[in-house]
Subunit: 325 residues, 2 copies
């Protein structure tokens, strides 16, 4: 049996490939642009080229290939369903394509799901058996480990934290993602400025309203901009409400928060923690719970793709990761 793992992080912008040993130590790493606009076939061919670059001298040394992809996808069938940031990808049987190309076992996982495996094996959740990973970026996703096993659900569609419904004060039903992801934060800041609010974010984008994104809002807020601070606080409160649902339903020991928007740090985390404190039903839920910022950086899904292979597609208990080490 192979003692090395090939990992692929298929993203909307980049394709990262890497080779790891069974302890998930990085042996080799490559990356290239996805250039999804060149079409599905072009991206798949490029993936093959970069997987080949990551391969060791002998393919027999490879335990398997793990691929992280944006969802929705079917991890059981190995099919990419229709990711918003991979235009043209519709029901692509990526596992079968790569298995017949490389004659190796291939596992495919949702990027946020496999990130939870990465955090449990190499990140802030090491040694934990009840783990929630949340990514706050252009979307809001999650990966959940219940008593040592990756939660996939009946059809591999579980852990969609971003789609917890949130009732707004006007009575309409929104969701955590629609209220608190990067585009929502930017949208509310833009609207306020259009309605006459002053904000330092306009300096950051050289007065171009269209260029306002969550990153610009974060920079302005870090410089003391009141509008930016207020909108990150609103997003933090919404995420905090979602976390209360997660706490009461899963009773986890660690919640790790990653993704671009999480880099705003306390501007997001302080109101989030405050919402958790205010709404938790009993202190017993918070006594043994850590809420932490991810420290694995941009490679979290790449490490997760490797961990997916090490856990046989999430079928094995994460303690298997330690056993292999």
């Amino acid at each position: 049996m192979g003692n090395q793992i090939i990992a692929v992080d298929l993203g909307g912008t980049q394709i990262r490939t890497a080779r790891y040993d069974l302890e998930l130590n990085l042996l080799q790493r490559e990356n290239t642009l996805t250039e999804a606009y060149l079409g599905l076939q072009s991206t798949i061919e490029r993936m093959k080229v970069y997987i080949r670059k990551a391969m060791p001298a002998s393919a027999e040394d490879v335990l398997g290939i793990g691929i992280s992809s944006p969802g929705p996808l079917n991890p059981f069938a190995g099919v990419i369903v229709a990711p918003p940031n991979l235009p043209g990808w519709l029901d692509v049987p990526l596992r079968d394509i790569m298995e017949s190309e490389f004659s190796l076992p291939v596992h495919i996982g949702n990027d946020a799901n496999v990130a939870a495996l990465a955090e449990a094996s190499k990140g802030a959740a090491q040694g934990c058996r009840h783990v929630v990973y949340i990514t706050v970026s252009t979307g809001i996703g999650a990966g959940i480990i219940c008593d040592g096993k990756l939660l996939l659900g009946r059809d591999g569609l579980a852990a969609e934290f971003g789609h917890i419904p949130i009732v707004l004060e006007n009575g309409t039903v929104s969701s955590v993602e629609l209220e608190a992801a990067g585009p929502a934060i930017a949208r509310r800041v833009k609207r306020s400025i259009e309605e006459g609010a002053k904000s330092k974010v306009m300096d950051i984008v050289d007065g171009d309203l269209k260029r306002i994104d969550a990153r610009a809002v974060g920079m302005a807020a870090a410089a003391g901009d009141e509008l930016g601070i207020a909108q990150l606080a609103y997003a933090g409160r919404i995420i905090g409400l979602g976390i209360v649902s997660i706490m009461h339903l899963f009773n986890p020991e660690v919640i790790v928060i990653g993704g671009g928007v999480s880099k705003t740090g306390d501007l997001l985390f302080a109101p989030m923690r405050e919402a958790v404190r205010a709404q938790v039903m009993d202190e017993a839920y918070t006594e043994n719970l850590r809420i932490e910022q991810s420290a694995l950086g941009d490679d979290v899904a790449l490490i997760g793709a490797a961990a997916l292979v090490a856990t046989d597609g999430g079928n094995l208990d994460i303690s298997e990761l330690d056993r292999r080490f």
Copy 2:
């Protein structure tokens, strides 16, 4: 190893005890009043007497004793923490008490949690591996089975469906339980009547406002009472919103709904299903999902207590239940 199981359902009103074989066929059944007002010691002594009545001729034939109790409780330590409907019960080490009395393994589980095991072994969720059981009664609780295993969480506090936060239109944060459990339904009907609304529920309670409960509201609604219908519909919509969270987080194959309020049937279920249809993010979540009324009746927690023993306190996969059969 024993081939019979002793099950206990410790409730606020009744204590039920029973003996089952390993296929969870009922061999013997007893029940008595809890009479919690007589004090903790009295209730525990009565439990012992009724467990003894349920025992077979030889204690060696008994695999273990399973006890279902209202929460909060610690299933790992076997301690009943402080159930609202068992006044005087505070951090009671019920497992140790019963193990030293009977020299048999004892497992203790939250009533809604073990009910999920009952549904998976004998009820509407037979043969399913991704199961959610929800009880709507004086409180709202749940039991969740993730890929064949009972979800307990870090401290055994998981599956508190009733404590999913719900933001109200006035901006305050409530919960599924505070909005949709029996007392909430009764409270809103009473308030409307106090404010001048007409309702058939007043005939049912002989004009005594204080006697209005969810059962009376259900009876009035079944007879066409508009106020009762509207308030059950509101509760159904709130539960439906909570179910959307559950669907997106767990992607279950079956959701079984029990408890007294669920007996109102379509008056609750139709608006609940409508909320699910309106808010689900993708039809993929509903395609393979059944939402059903529990058919196990009042013995659901008793059967669950037996199933708890058969799964070694929820540690074993539910497929073990079939293996034993």
